[in-house]
């Protein structure tokens, strides 16, 4: 039995790596994904191109503008466009914000009166727009406090734990680990099995003196190993290149990853039993991926979703593993705090893998 499995695993590896392109892709996919995700998935907005209109031309207005533009946030893009036609820049995407300082700005400041500064924002990117407004308010608050000597009598003092710089990478890389594991295992497993069926070699395998469990293990072990390899590669890049802290236990992470793989390999196997061509298998795997990724809390917190979708996420194994990976890596969480997730993951793994195993055996016999 052990020998058969070993032979099958070897065959599968030979098949995967016979094509040099595949080997390159398996190494390249996680690296490229990590680098692209690590650098682009940045919900914090750093550059807001702004066209400033200063109708006051006073020392005060210049000082206010100086407070606004030195940092990373509001980058001046001063085009000589009349204010009334300033939406042209929005349409051409040359700037996304317009700031208008009224001509009585300095007068009102000197008289200690409130003065309104106009801020017109391109709402087509809803996220950037609301962040731009938020920044403008904060900068103005600071300007009032520091330059006009008008401190707010009440303020909030914030302490950010685990990630004081609010770096999105810290939060994305653990997520990418989960996504990579899912993608590689579900897609490759389902396609590899269906491929045998499509080309007709599954019958050949069946007439060999191989038991069904050996076939299943032989077909899933290689992809589990590739999955572990991808995960390690992603973690390695995350820790060395992006300097992500790893606060918890590596052993716990790998053990739990194994339970998670039971689920994804099971899903891959299940897909292979309900499809007959690789295209179909890819489609089903894709469908599962998109749905499970979007509802896992990878991009946006589950608490943001409508209630009905929130209930749906309990059926998503990625949801639990996402919490586990982020908890172990960033917060150093252990079994004592993660046990509800671990229990759910374990149940999913056993049920999904067991069910797929049964279905696959029935289908093959």
């Amino acid at each position: 039995m052990r020998q058969t499995i070993f032979a099958l695993v070897k065959k599968e590896f030979l098949q995967v790596f016979r094509d040099f392109t595949m080997l390159r892709l398996i190494i390249l996919v996680p690296i490229i994904q990590l680098i692209i995700f690590g650098y682009t998935v940045n919900i914090d907005v750093k550059y807001i191109y702004t066209n400033f209109y200063d109708f006051d031309h006073s020392a005060e207005s210049r000082e206010y503008l100086k407070a606004f533009s030195p940092g990373d946030y509001f980058i001046p893009r001063n085009y000589d466009i009349p204010l009334l036609e300033s939406d042209r820049g929005f349409k051409e995407n040359t700037y996304n914000t317009v700031m208008v300082i009224p001509d009585d700005f300095s007068e009102k400041i000197i008289n200690r009166e409130p003065v309104d500064v106009g801020l017109v924002v391109d709402g087509s990117n809803a996220n950037s727009a609301s962040i731009a407004i938020g920044y403008a308010n904060i900068i103005t608050m600071q300007y009032n406090r520091m330059k006009l000597n008008l401190p707010e009598p009440l303020s909030v003092r914030q302490v950010m734990l685990y990630n004081p710089e609010a770096e999105s990478v810290y939060f994305m890389v653990p997520g990418i680990v989960v996504v990579l594991l899912t993608m590689i295992t579900v897609m490759l497993t389902s396609m590899a099995i269906v491929r045998e069926r499509e080309i007709g070699t599954l019958e050949q395998l069946m007439v060999t003196p191989m038991s069904v469990p050996a076939l299943i293990l032989g077909k899933t072990i290689p992809f589990a190993l590739i999955g572990f390899f991808e995960m390690s590669l992603a973690l390695f890049i995350g820790v060395t290149w992006f300097n992500i802290p790893f606060a918890g236990s590596w052993l716990l992470l790998y053990v739990l990853a194994f339970f998670f793989l039971l689920t994804t390999l099971g899903v891959g196997m299940f897909i292979s039993t309900i499809t007959s061509t690789q295209q179909q298998a890819m489609f089903f795997a894709w469908f599962f991926m998109v749905f499970s990724m979007l509802t896992s809390g990878f991009f946006t917190p589950i608490a943001n979703m409508p209630e009905s979708v929130q209930y749906l996420t309990y059926l998503n194994p990625l949801r639990y593993f996402m919490v586990i990976v982020r908890g172990i890596m960033m917060k150093g969480a252990g079994i004592d705090t993660l046990y509800p997730q671990i229990l759910a993951l374990f149940t999913f793994g056993v049920v999904v893998f067991g069910f797929s195993w049964m279905r696959f055996s029935k289908r093959v016999n």
Binding site: D19, M22, L25, V29, I32, Q33, I36, T40, D44, K46, K91, V117, G118, V120, V121, D122, G123, S124, N125, A126, N127, S130, N137, T140, Y143, N144, L148, L150, P151, P153, L154, S155, V156, M160, Y162, N163, P164, Y170, F171, M191, R195, T277, Q278, Q279, Q280, F283, F284, W286, F287, V290, L294, T295, P301, N304, M305, P306, V323, R326, G327, M330
Partner: protein, 379 residues
């Protein structure tokens, strides 16, 4: 021409014979729109907040009420342990802990009766906020919401005739005044879906003929390679267009995404974009021999860049210069700028010429490359 039609008909049969794939090809875009429109909401709500109120006056309870009634925060079940605020974060029972020190009520009362004096005080009263930075976005949102809530609360406490001096921001949002995420996602989603269906499916369908050995059969039949390719991609153009229209209709009628520009212009650019996507698909198929490889290749070459390097979700301005430069060869970048311009801002060719020109150039180059490569491989 007739031969092309024959091949296209054959490919259509392939698609129709496999209703499961077709259903997914049609269902997935709709489901993605639904999820992006509803579930993927970048404005963060329902942040689990625990409040430790040491002041315990009617004023501090009022502030707590303001937090929970703002719509942004919900009450955490657990009571925070102030000696170890991390405990509640590790358990995942809250992502923020607000600490109201003793003397909060008194400070607010002082503001009510003597605002001038409170304004000139040197040491402002501070409310403490611990944030779980593991989810950086939620934490940042929680920080800015709580600042706003506390500032508003303070301003409410001032006498009604007292106007707070200093500069204020009067903001106005164009094109999407309610800052709805769906207005932002739906146009981009059309670009992603067109790319996915056109490039991914085309490359797979050609790789499939190679893998199952039917490519040789096709090539020995009296049709030219070019006719085979054109015939094979036509059905997918229809599927892609159908998906595009479906998502557009769903976005406009269900989510109320405005469509302020010209439908004809969008259609024209859509076709140019599809040509680019199909050319990429054909290019991939000439490079690979199996469907698995085609899928992985298409994933790397089309889906990932189209989602990540196009400005679909994440603003390109915030990425490093190298990735920004790289994004110039991603067709979706131009199409997303065009479709958002047309749908949301009512832009026309006069303002979009730069993106439109770039898209057209890319399509022509890709088409030329694909044709050349294909001839080399087959001939």
């Amino acid at each position: 021409m007739r031969k092309i039609r024959q091949i296209a008909r054959k490919e259509f049969r392939h698609i129709l014979r496999d209703p499961r794939s077709l259903i997914i090809a049609i269902l997935m875009p709709v489901m993605m729109t639904f999820l992006y429109g509803y579930a993927i909401n970048l404005d963060i709500k329902n942040i689990k907040l625990a409040i430790k109120d040491f002041d315990n006056t009617s004023v501090s309870r009022e502030l707590a009420g303001k937090f929970y009634n703002s719509g942004y925060f919900i009450r955490a079940e657990a009571e925070p342990d102030i000696s170890d605020p991390e405990e509640i974060f590790r358990r995942g029972e809250a992502v923020a802990v607000l600490v109201i020190r003793n003397g909060f009520g008194k400070t607010i009362d002082a503001l009510k009766y003597n605002p001038q004096m409170a304004l000139n005080s040197d040491s402002p009263f501070q409310v403490g906020l611990f944030l779980d930075g593991a989810d950086a976005n939620t934490a940042a949102a929680a920080a800015s919401y709580s600042s706003i809530i506390v500032t508003e609360f303070m301003k409410r406490a001032l006498p009604p005739d007292f106007e707070f001096p200093g500069v204020r921001i009067a903001s106005q949002v164009l094109y999407n005044p309610d800052l709805k995420s769906s207005h932002f996602f739906v146009p981009g989603l059309i670009a992603i879906i067109l790319m996915m269906i056109s490039a991914l499916l085309t490359s797979i369908t050609i790789a499939r003929e190679k893998e199952t050995g039917t490519m040789e059969q096709l090539l020995t039949s009296p049709v030219t390679p070019r006719q085979i390719i054109i015939g094979k991609v036509i059905p997918y153009v229809f599927v892609a267009l159908l998906d595009g229209v479906l998502v557009l209709a769903f976005g406009v009628f269900h989510f109320g995404v405005p469509f302020s520009g010209s439908v004809a212009a969008l259609f024209l650019f859509g076709v140019i974009y599809i040509v680019a996507a199909l050319s990429i698909g054909i290019l991939i198929s000439t490079l690979v021999s199996t469907q698995q490889l085609a899928m992985m290749g298409a994933l790397l070459a089309t889906v990932l860049p189209s989602v990540m390097l196009s400005g679909f979700i994440f603003d390109l301005k915030n990425t490093p210069v190298v990735l920004q430069a790289l994004s110039h060869i991603v067709p979706a970048r131009y199409f997303i700028a065009i479709i958002r311009g047309i749908m949301l801002k009512g832009a026309d060719i006069g303002t979009l010429w730069l993106d439109a020109g770039a898209l057209l150039c890319m399509s022509l180059i890709l088409l030329g490359l694909a044709a050349k490569r294909f001839k080399m491989r087959i001939g």
